[in-house]
Structure formats: C-alpha cells, structure tokens
Symmetry: C2
Subunit: 309 residues, 2 copies
C-alpha cells in the first residue's frame, strides 16, 4: 500500500512538473506556437476623450481589453459603461500618481488614512520618485483595496489588474501589495520578469509562484513618437511577435481640446501620441498585420476564467 | 455739556440714517441714477471648456467677474490663472452639490468630517433637496471654509463669494454660514432679498446688517432657452435695467465634446445653453446695448475695496 502511494505521489509530482513546464499558451489550451496578444488600452476614466476613444475601440474590436483609473474625474462614465457591458474586458489601472499639470485627483480611501500618498495640495504626487520616497506601504494597500472595492461596487466585472505609470512596480514592497491583491481577488495581473528588471530595476522572480500568470512580452511605443514612428514601431512589433502571451499597452484618446489641455506642458504621452495609437490600431493596416502574422487576440477575461478559478 | 453731547449724538444718528438711506451706487461714489452691472461668469473650474471660455471672456472684457468651484477637476487650471492674474475679478462659487451624471466631485475637507454632505458613492449629492435633508450645518461650515482656504493657498486674490446652485441659500441655517464666512473674510457676497424669497423661499431680511452689500437685481436666463430666446431675454434685461447694483449670472463654455459629455442627460444648463451665453455677451449687439443704455460695468473687487475694508 505504501509503495502504491509513493508511486502515485511520484506520478502526481511528474504530472505537476509537466504542467509547470507548459507554456502559458498551452495552459490556456492553445498550441505552443500560438502568438497570443492582448491589445490593451490604459487610462480609461481619466477624461471623456480617453473614455470615448477607448469605448469606440473596444466596441469595434480594435482593442481586446482596457483598464480604468478609479480616482479620476471620469471614472463614473467608464464605470457606467462597464456595468452595462459585463462582457467588456475591463480591469483596474491601479493609480497612485496624478501626473498632469492642471488636472488632478487624489485618494479614494479616507484622506486621513492615505496622507503619505498625497502632496501638500492634497493630490497624489506627480512622479514616481516622490511616491517611492514618501508612501507608506500600509497606506498604499488601503488605497488600492479601496479602488478595487469602489470599481466592484460600481458594477464593473473586473478581469485583471495593472498599474498606472508602473507605480506598483516601483519597489518590492509595493509589488508585494500588488501581488497580494491580485491573488486575493483572483485576478490575473500584468507581470513580466524582464520588463520589470529593465524598466523598474526590480527583480520579481522570487515573488512569483506557478499560480501567477506571467506575460511573456510587454510592448509600448514609448514617446517621443510621431504618427510615422508609431506605425513603424507597431508594424515591426506585429511582424516579429513571438509565440507566447504578449501584451501591447496603448493609450487611446482624441487629439482634442480636453486632452490637449490635460497634457499641457508635459513633453510626453500627449494628445497627439494618443490619437496616433488610435489611428494605428483602428487601421486596416493593423488588421492585415494581425491576420498575416497569424496573431490570436485574447482577453484578460479568458485568462482569468481558464487559469484563475 | 450734557445738552451738547445729546445734540452731537442726534446729529450723528441723523448722519448715519442719511448714510443708511444711500443707495449702493451712491455708497460706491456714483450718482443715484447710475445703472451698475456685474456681468458674472459662474462655474469656473468645472471643466476645461468652461475655464477657457470664461478666461477668453474675462480677457476681452465680455464679463467683469467670475467665480470658481474649488472641489472640481479643473480647479488647478483656473487657480493657476488667478494667481498669475491678480487683477482678474475672481470669487468662490461655494459648492455643495455635484449635479452631473458621470462627472463627479466631492468634499475638499476631510471626508470623515463631511460625511453628511456625501452620498453612498462618496460624492456630493446631485440635488438641493438631498443636501438640505442630510447636511449638518457644522460640516457645511467646515467644507466651505476649506474651499476658501484652498483657493487662498492657491494664490487667488478673492474678491467675493457666491453659491453654486444656490445651495447656501437653501435655508436659514445654511445662509447664516454663508453670511458668517463672507463677513469673516471681508468679502462681498451675492445677496438679494427678493430673489432669495422668490426662488429659495427664504427671507433673509432679518439677517442683513447695513454692512452687507445687497445686490438690487439678479438676472439669469433660466433654461430652457435657445440662442434666440437668450438674445431676447438679455436684450430686454439691458434695455430695462434700473439704476442700482445689478448682477447677471451667466455660464460660459464651448458647445464641445467635453461639455456635451458633462451635461449628458441633464435637460437644462447644457453645453449649447452655455455657448449661447458666450455668443451673446461677446457680441457687438451686447456692447451696443451696454452703451446705448448707459450701463456702467463694475467688478466685485471695486465693491470689496470701497465698501468692505
């Protein structure tokens, strides 16, 4: 009997190891050579311009997914959309910074419990360095939990978490909170070992378990980029996309008065940059590249339903 | 000696009575038959559309004055303008409501000290009735004081107070706070005995002292009004304006995507209504009517400087 149990245990371990060696695309039921791509719109809720461009792209299939910023002025608009469209693939763009010159927001949780996250004017800090220097981890957790709860209360069917300006990836203490919340709410979250090492100088490999879903490659057309550069960057990205779970982070808005005023005096990430994203991903050229490169679009919801239950 | 004192006292009383009988325009150094008019833009800070239209009107002399909403998303934009333009006639549009469907704001003071002003979603109430029913006067005072202090800290040279949606005129308890703050900060405030009686059913006459500046007539083109109705209303108003201190409350914004989205599903006070205000007050027709009716434009700053020191 003892021998039988040992054999069974060994087989189970081998089976788990084999599963452990599976690629994410295989875990999701696709062949190993499948190029999966999430086309992800960030910053929903920040402005009406961003909301309307992102909703247009979601409804026309130009993006698969988006994530929204709960503390921002137009949260109620995108929350109402999310509650009316339970199949829209929406997550939370966890927000700890307020980076624009004249258009500001602050904490969702009680301000007397999030004081370390706020500047002297009562708004979130403009930049990651100030946040990293001043923020107390327990106040970050309180605030991020409040953002998730507020989105759920608004009736949004959350599919994932990610982080505005990567503030949750700033250091390991912040990252642990991000992982804790993702696991607790059973939501996949944007995680990429290499990108975090290169951009945020933080090695997350020892924090990851085999229950976490890793994104193999994360892409973003970092500014400055004009429309022609955008098209060249994304064309190359799609033509050279590798098998695995890939995610491209884009930012959709119209190059209109509202978005121009929000991004005033901010050299990067402006209204024209957002319009260029919209122009490329809504183009026939993009559609053709997705087809010719046999890229399979996937939502965070599919990942959540298949791997996080 | 006693008789001399009595005589002096009687003369002083008579002199004070004579001053008391002076019209506001006389107190300000104008003749009794002067038609003074404040052309006042409400709602600055609510949106970029409202800010840019109002600044355009202030800089071109189409309005004399404006008041800003401290809790709103674009407060920092108009505050920066105010601090850079100390001569711009800006007051505070004290705000206790958040009336739009998908575009919300809440208290400036700590939320745990203003709980009676906030709905279940953490925003100000949409309507005056809910505010009137739920708000605790001490929390109103805390919030309004915080709005004034935040505006002062932002470097705005405040010239007056008034009240968004007339929430401070809703009942006598609220009105007493409004008067208390105006007197404490030595700011003139929008006060009109008849209008308050007719619109808000509150009789303020027993609360007024001779130190308070009363506006003789307050005008506003209440919706629904299209452009032609606007023009007819204002033309008649200017042609029949009476001597005294008059104030017309207007709301300037562009009929653009941002303002249309803000005022969504709100039958009145929409983007077109605001554009119509801008169109009339920036027109040659308006300019001609002001000249032909010998209307003298005045700012709240002049009133503050002459009567509130």
């Amino acid at each position: 009997m003892k021998n039988k149990c040992s054999l069974l245990l060994s087989l189970l371990i081998l089976a788990f190891q084999a599963i452990g060696q599976q690629t994410t695309q295989e875990k999701l039921g696709y062949s190993k050579d499948t190029k999966l791509l999430i086309i992800h719109a960030d910053d929903l809720g920040v402005s009406h311009s961003e909301d309307s461009a992102s909703i247009y792209a979601l409804e026309n299939g130009y993006v698969t997914s988006g994530s929204l910023m709960v503390p921002c002025p137009w949260f109620s608009e995108i929350a109402a959309y999310g509650s009316r469209h339970p199949d829209a693939d929406l997550g939370i763009h966890l927000t700890l910074t307020s980076e624009w010159k004249y258009y500001k927001w602050d904490a969702v949780a009680a301000r007397d419990k999030t004081g370390s996250l706020l500047n002297s004017k009562g708004f979130f800090y403009d930049d990651l360095d100030s946040l990293g220097k001043m923020a107390k981890p327990d106040e970050i957790e309180k605030e991020l939990r409040s953002q998730i709860e507020k989105a759920k209360e608004a009736g949004i069917h959350l599919t994932h978490l990610d982080s505005h300006m990567g503030s949750c990836f700033f250091n390991k203490d912040f990252l642990k909170i991000y992982l804790k919340l993702a696991r607790e709410y059973k939501l996949p979250s944007l995680l990429n070992v290499n990108a975090f090492k290169v951009i945020y100088h933080v090695d997350i490999s020892d924090l990851i378990t085999n229950k976490d879903v890793l994104t193999d490659n994360v892409f973003m057309a970092f500014p400055p980029n004009d429309k022609a550069q955008h098209e060249a960057y994304y064309t190359n990205m799609l033509n050279t996309l590798q098998p695995g779970l890939n995610c491209v982070l884009i930012h959709l808005a119209y190059n209109d008065a509202e978005m121009q005023a929000i991004t005033l005096d901010h050299p990067d990430y402006g209204a024209a940059w957002r319009q260029a994203d919209l122009d490329f991903f809504s183009s026939d050229r993009c559609k053709q590249l997705l087809v010719s490169n046999k890229i399979h679009l996937i939502t965070w919801k599919e990942i959540k339903d298949k791997l996080m239950q």
